[in-house]
Symmetry: D3
Subunit: 153 residues, 6 copies
């Protein structure tokens, strides 16, 4: 009997995709057969960084890694997971605030789709202070953000 | 001498009122003589679910429970408590994030009205992941929300 | 039909009973018809302060308050609650560490006895830093502890 | 090229092994090719439950699941992982206290063995209040513990 | 050789400046030679209280304390610190939510400017429940806010 | 008028003194005129590492830094601070568990000695996972601990 592929969705708004996100994806590669970086697009919410540009940057970042795919989705994460035949969600945890939030969200996702298991990695400590919202804030105020991004913008 | 009635306000925006809220009210009934579900209406903030409709759903939900009243209020919770002769606030705690928030709010309410005591219940674990904001998010993206609500919408 | 009395157990090792404990009992009196300060005695664990002495101090402290009783118990809190016909446990919350612990314990108590509801108060902020273990530590090292105790020792 | 087997160590003192532990192992089975329940034995620390008995109970519990092995180890988790060719540690997270502890431990394990990745699952909410120390406490005081264990003791 | 002055920036939006903020500044005075209360002005974000008025209130509050200066800035905190030759940031911690946030921000500030050290004080417990956002909320709903402010508004 | 020296006590059991502790001392040097590493010795509690040896290691570590002194004390931290004319306590914060503990302790120290201010630094992220108890655990089980210590043992 063929063993089922382990496909994980790594969902987020990635506005922008940071070195912290890259850390989680690269470490997740030893667990999963395929990781889909799934950029959630919320039409009613204005993004700060250009969506097609971010998608393209992530694709180039992982161009030598055929196990990583990049996709844009609207709607529920669990619906998109089913559509992509992903049986896992991959998430990083940086601190207790993240934990409380992810604890809640993972229960909802399991309630909607009982076959969808969320797997957590703890973000590497030297990257745990990076968040997309801080990067946006820095950029808005003219700060240097290249230190936090795994590509040039 | 007549014993003073124990009247509790259960304040919130209830946008919408969830099974988690229902859990706190039903468990609170063994402590209080009356519980007023107090729907805070903030005129400057757009609600997602229709206010009169939610009020009506809560009233029908507790129609066999004469100790539960439902009311809409604007302004400060502590002011409305005084107006309703409520000497207690009833609140549910789901996690440490809730705790830190409620810790702050309860001190403010006591500062304003020293006779107003806040009583906490810990939300039952199988309901602790439900939040109004997650329910709104699910609904916005076409997800099923009936699992989280104690009434049909 | 007679209304059932609201009897709460306020369990703890109270080694010693502090001003923080007193704060929770006094504020609990407006909710409950009777509060039993239940001193847990664990025969396999050495106490620092003398048990009969602490019991006597608590009794004197509340001698003008007939709604407060003091008792010593061994074994499970939920068993002693049943024996005393207490339908409530009363507990104070000082911080998130307390919350995580009480969250766990209250579920266990409810699992054992589904009719036993735990009611929480948040300790008043000017008393929230007091813990029995700190008082013991201070006493051990010759520090003044009278500031933290509602009686002379 | 042969794909490397995904072998995870699920380390703990398991004094005793609870339904919460079972939940993590069963959910981990869809990720890993083999899970070794690794019972840490600390010769200088007295166990409450009999070690060979607990080992045998876990083996019987998973007797129809050939992917689960049970082993006893002394010394460092990371050393035992290397010895068993396990490239993963599997851990459950119940709350923020767990998170803070595991955050620390996982960094130490990675420092010792950079190839050892720790994978986290969040314990199912209806089991998250169970801890081995609470089960021991209940047993010590004559309480029923069968509700928390996936086997008879 | 002349010893370098210890100049600290105390940054915030101070919308409004509360007794909690005053507590941190006054206690910080025994550490620093100069404290600059730095009011962050974000042109794209509407303030609730009038900026020049708040600045003037803080100046009057500390008019007898020559070590305290008040300034308005736009852009990054670390840039303004450099401009003012401040080698320290001073921040108050009220609870774990504050801690998680400040933990993140202080790493970013150190990444941008390795010579900028953030020094923390824990807010005095009787003031720890005060936050600018609660004060705004109270004011919006017609509540009394003078209790929380070290000046009349 | 002579400016009062800024003398800080950095208290702990330092069993052993780690790179995390060194980080806090070195960063504290830019704030204080003198830092006394104060090794608390609790005669009723067995140490794992030899006390005179640890003291000597810390002295050698800071031998080129005349502002750092090392001392052993018994009894209360606040009493020893007074004896050494230290007006500050210096403490590192690694995570929310540390924060909750230090929050409590710093209030007690201020209650005992209102002139004793506790100043906090957040431990650098790449060192925040190091704790004396983990180092002891590693050593007990034959692990390498030199990575975590700023000296050879």
């Amino acid at each position: 009997m063929a063993v089922k592929s382990k496909i994980a969705l790594f969902p987020g708004s990635f506005d922008p995709f940071t070195k912290g996100h890259e850390d989680v994806v690269r470490r997740g590669l030893i667990i999963f057969d395929e990781i889909i970086v799934a950029i959630g697009n919320n039409s009613s919410k204005q993004r700060y960084f250009d969506l097609p540009n971010i998608k393209s940057k992530i694709e180039i970042l992982f161009q030598d890694e055929p196990k990583v795919k990049v996709a844009i989705f609207e709607g529920l994460t669990s619906t998109f997971a089913k559509q992509k035949q992903a049986n896992f969600l991959l998430r990083g945890l940086r601190n207790t605030t993240d934990f409380e939030y992810e604890n809640t969200i993972s229960q909802v996702n399991k309630e909607i789709n009982p076959d969808l298991e969320t797997i957590f990695l703890i973000t590497s400590p030297h990257l745990a202070f990076i968040s997309s919202s801080i990067v946006r804030d820095l950029h808005k105020h003219g700060g240097t953000i290249s230190t936090y991004l795994p590509y040039k913008i």
